[in-house]
Symmetry: none
Subunit: 194 residues, 4 copies
DNA sequence: AATGAATGAGGGTTCATTCAT
DNA sequence: TATGAATGAACCCTCATTCAT
């Protein structure tokens, strides 16, 4: 890769990070190209040098966040430990993303509404892969006898839904710390699987 | 109430139902006044005879759906039966709304992003009330010894989150029928509370 | 004239008075048919039974106020007294209208901008007639030797302009009472003519 | 100041001049953004690159004209000569604006009706300053003994009103030339002050 | 690689006007 | 006579997008 290409990639990421910030605050529709550019002391015209259009930028925001979360989850999965220990780590990872990256990590957003035809497939694939990591650990637990589940898929959906929902009501100033919350969630999730 | 007022109320509801359809399909931002009006063979100007502005209309869509769901839940709560029986009914009610009224029932939508200052308070109040109905049944079960929960609030959040999440992946053509799904969900939720 | 016609005329005047109030407060463009009707506990549709359209209503507002002022001025003119005494009375009359009926009496409003082709002629005629009443008294004074003026028309314009301007800065709570103001104005106007 | 800033300022002024033309012809309410843009062979969207909204543009039209007139008046004031000579020049300046810039120079327009809260204060300040320049010359004349006035403020108001009124009836094709008119007006105004 | 400037489509909103009842 | 309801044209404004420089 040439130096100039590297530079472009770096700039792209800068823009993405800025865009993610704005989108987390204002939502996909509420975020404007102008505002995203302003955050970086650029003009909106320049964004089009790096991204084809707004849809593309939004898509890559979602992708970046989701990919990062996926990577962390994969790290969790490959660490030593019982299925329960791994699952607990994954819960912490997911909840952190759900809280810190609100909108861009928001898996509830209807992709067919937000993204165009080319983008839908990769998004769905990524989401499916992300979900499957939870399936992995559940299956592993079942295999080792740690977990029991009549319908593991349903359990995974309950787990994901419950965790995504946190962003709706979590407040840093609330009664519980994030850590306590994660603890409780993990406990209940394990309970579902025992 | 005068006849004319009844008529206007009826028309308002007609519009709301139409708007709810559109919003469920396209989201709050994606829905246009023009499209909503067209669905009713009206012109968008006419909508302003019944609603102050788009924000007002969107707000009332959300309110209507949420109020209806609340009413059904309250009926469930007042019926005879054990806490478990009641909770199972409530789960069915909620899941039905989550699936059928996707966007307008979407409790995840950030109200501070979508609604204006006057609207936020009633929305939050309504949502809080809705959630509290689940608290009621959980507490009732704990009182009768049917349920056990160290942190009932957390359980309620897990329950709500899990159910709201369904709209994300449920497909009528899927492997399970809606009824089976409801059954499984209820089972797992009860398990959390035993 | 039939009774029903009389009734219509009476209602028309009611509407006009209401409209005049609104227009004085909000200006011709700022006044809406809805607001005018609301003041009378009517609906805007009803206004069209009495007036062809908004332009017509606005036109008649202006006409009514101007005609009333004209009548009062004519009364002044026909009273006994020296030209100076008459002119002083007319100044009082005019200033009262300028202050109390702000917008509708506003002779500065460009008629070609506000009124349509049919309306312009009568408006201009009325305004011209109104102005001529001041010419009358000035000429009368010149004839009796009370007044002197090289260009009586110019004087009349100065007089009218000065008086119309009052509405711009007059405040009921100001340093001078309306009566003092009228006194001073009259003094200076007489001075112009001596 | 950077070159780009200069350029933008120049364009802004171009737009303002165009807008002033339209407003003088159609009034503030009658002027549309579309028409203003069309005059410059632009699209209305482009206007929003230079002005926040229509209110802002209208406000700046008024401001520009009033500021220019103020500057000219100040030049008049600082020239050599007796108070009478200065006042005569000022009368000429004012009458020219009143005739040439009709609507935008129209000091009669009720600011509270036309402008928003932020704009009102500067407008009133500017108008007050403009008026005060006439006070200055009157006071100067009184100080030197050239003029006499029991209530100089009233005189100033008569003067301003009389001059603003001109735009109402002046026609280039009339009996008198603009110059004769200015001459007569000045004569009468001086007479008021002697 | 970035920008300034312009565009144009589209959306929300207002409001005078109409018309059946 | 009066109204309720609907219309549609006109307007302001936003914003993603383009393109010459």
């Amino acid at each position: 890769m040439k130096l100039s290409e590297k530079k472009i990639l770096k700039k792209k990421e800068e823009i993405l990070l800025s865009a993610i910030t704005i989108v987390n605050r204002k939502g996909y529709d509420g975020a404007t190209m102008e505002e995203i550019a302003a955050e970086l002391l650029m003009t909106k015209g320049s964004l089009y040098y790096y991204f084809k259009n707004k849809g593309d930028l939004m898509y890559q925001c979602h992708n970046l966040v989701l990919s990062q979360a996926t990577k962390e989850l994969e790290v969790n999965l490959n660490e030593e430990g019982t299925a329960e220990e791994i699952l607990r780590k994954m819960v912490v990872t997911h909840i952190n993303y759900a809280i810190e990256e609100k909108e861009t990590f928001n898996l509830i957003i209807e992709p067919r509404q937000m993204f165009n035809e080319e983008q839908i497939e990769p998004v769905l694939k990524l989401r499916k892969h992300y979900s499957s990591l939870f399936d992995n650990v559940i299956e592993k637990g079942i295999a080792t006898g740690e977990f029991h589940a009549k319908e593991p898929i349903i359990v995974r959906m309950i787990v994901l839904g419950a965790m995504n929902w946190i962003q709706q009501w979590y407040k840093p100033t609330g009664r519980m710390t994030k850590e306590e919350l994660e603890q409780y969630f993990a406990d209940y999730i394990i309970k579902l699987l025992k």
